[in-house]
C-alpha cells in the first residue's frame, strides 16, 4: 500500500469508525437500583392513607453531539393506585416537574437540556424519587392486587 494511502485513509477510516461509535454509544441510559416496591401501610381516620416515597433509584446517562432530554413512561394494566416520579437532583440538564405515571401515558419529560459534548464530562446522573399514594376508596392490594409498573426511561435528542 502506498505510504500516502496509509497515512491518510487509515486515520480517516479510524476516525469514521470512532465517530460512529461515539455517536451511537452516547445514546445510553442505565437505571441503577433495580426493581422497586413501595408499600402503603398506614392511614389517617378522616383523611387518606399516608403516601410513601422511594429514593433508591437513579439514572446514569451520557452526553451526545446534540442536546438531549430524558423521558419517562409506564405500562401498568389495571392500574388502581397513584405513582409519581420526579428527579430530585441531576448533574446535567434541568429537572422537569413531577410526573404522574399512568398506564399508557405518552413519554413525558423528566430531565431536559442535557448539554451536548464537549466541553465537560460526558456522563451524567440523576436521582429519582417515587411517590406512591392511594385513597381509601381505591381499595387495597389484598382485594384488588398490586400495581406493577414497567417504567421506561429514554434519552433522546431534544
Amino acid at each position: 500500500m502506498p505510504r500516502f494511502l496509509h497515512s491518510r485513509i487509515v486515520p480517516i477510516i479510524l476516525l469514521l469508525f470512532l465517530g460512529t461509535v461515539e455517536e451511537l454509544a452516547s445514546q445510553s441510559i442505565t437505571l441503577q437500583g433495580g426493581n422497586q416496591t413501595l408499600g402503603i401501610t398506614t392511614g389517617l381516620a378522616g383523611s387518606e392513607p399516608v403516601a410513601v416515597i422511594n429514593t433508591a433509584s437513579s439514572i446514569d446517562f451520557t452526553k451526545a453531539n446534540v442536546i438531549q432530554k430524558v423521558t419517562v413512561q409506564t405500562s401498568c394494566l389495571g392500574q388502581r393506585f397513584g405513582l409519581k416520579v420526579v428527579v430530585t437532583s441531576t448533574t446535567l440538564g434541568t429537572p422537569a416537574a413531577e410526573v404522574t405515571l399512568t398506564n399508557g401515558m405518552p413519554a413525558t419529560d423528566l430531565v431536559t437540556g442535557v448539554p451536548k459534548r464537549p466541553p465537560g464530562p460526558n456522563n451524567g446522573s440523576c436521582s429519582l424519587l417515587y411517590t406512591a399514594s392511594a385513597t381509601f376508596a381505591q381499595g387495597n392490594s389484598a382485594e384488588l392486587g398490586n400495581d406493577v409498573h414497567t417504567v421506561t426511561y429514554t434519552i433522546l435528542a431534544q
Binding site: L44, D60, T62, S89, T91, L92, P95, E98, N122, N123
Partner: protein, 192 residues
C-alpha cells in the same frame, strides 16, 4: 443494554465528581418539609397509631340527679257561694274539682305539701286530693287552709309520677258577710 465495564467505571467516576455540582430540582425544595411532616405523622401522631386498629372507644357517663317536679293544670279557679240553706240558716258551700295536680320524683320518701298565703282568712277554704293514681302516694284527710302554715297534702311519694284531682270546698258563715278573698296556694314536693 448495559454499558461496558469501562463505561460504567467512567460513569461512576464522574458521578462522584458530579455530585458536587448536582442541581437540585426546585420543585423538590418542599420535599424535606413534606417528608418531615410525613415522618411526624407516621411516628408521632396518635391518630396514625390509632388508625391501625379497627375499634375506637369512648367513655359515656350518664348521671341522673334527683328530680322533683310538680305542677297544676289550672292556675286560677273561682269558687262562688251564692246559695243558702234556708232551713239550716247557712250558706251552701261551693265545690270545685276542675283543678288537677301532677308530680314526678325519682327521689325517695317525698311528700307534697300545700300552703296558703292567707294567714287569717275571712271565709273557709278546704281541699282534698281525690282520684290519685295507684302507688303515686298516700292521700291525707281534707285540709283546711285557715292559716298560712304549710300542711301535708300527699305523703309516701317515692320514685314515681302521679296525678290527682284537687277538690276545693269554700264555705262561710252568715256572720262573715259578703266579699271576695284571693288565695295563693303553693304545692311543694319535698322531704326525703
Amino acid at each position: 443494554m448495559r454499558c461496558s465495564r469501562a463505561g460504567r467505571m467512567l460513569a461512576r467516576d464522574f458521578i462522584t465528581e458530579g455530585m458536587k455540582t448536582m442541581k437540585p430540582n426546585p420543585i423538590l425544595k418542599r420535599i424535606p418539609a413534606v417528608l418531615l411532616l410525613a415522618l411526624l405523622l407516621g411516628v408521632m401522631s396518635p391518630r396514625t397509631i390509632e388508625a391501625q386498629v379497627v375499634s375506637a372507644r369512648q367513655i359515656i357517663t350518664l348521671e341522673v340527679h334527683e328530680l322533683n317536679v310538680i305542677d297544676v293544670n289550672m292556675e286560677a279557679l273561682t269558687l262562688t257561694i251564692h246559695e243558702a240553706d234556708v232551713r239550716a240558716g247557712v250558706p251552701l258551700p261551693a265545690i270545685n274539682s276542675d283543678g288537677a295536680l301532677f308530680w314526678m320524683t325519682n327521689g325517695e320518701n317525698k311528700k307534697i305539701t300545700v300552703a296558703s298565703n292567707n294567714a287569717a282568712p275571712r271565709f273557709t277554704l278546704k281541699l282534698l286530693a281525690v282520684d290519685i293514681q295507684q302507688s303515686a302516694g298516700v292521700l291525707l284527710p281534707e285540709i283546711s287552709l285557715n292559716d298560712a302554715q304549710t300542711k301535708d297534702f300527699i305523703v309516701g311519694v317515692s320514685r314515681t309520677t302521679g296525678r290527682c284531682q284537687i277538690r276545693y270546698t269554700a264555705s262561710t258563715q252568715i256572720s262573715a258577710g259578703v266579699g271576695r278573698e284571693t288565695y295563693i296556694i303553693t304545692y311543694t314536693i319535698t322531704g326525703g
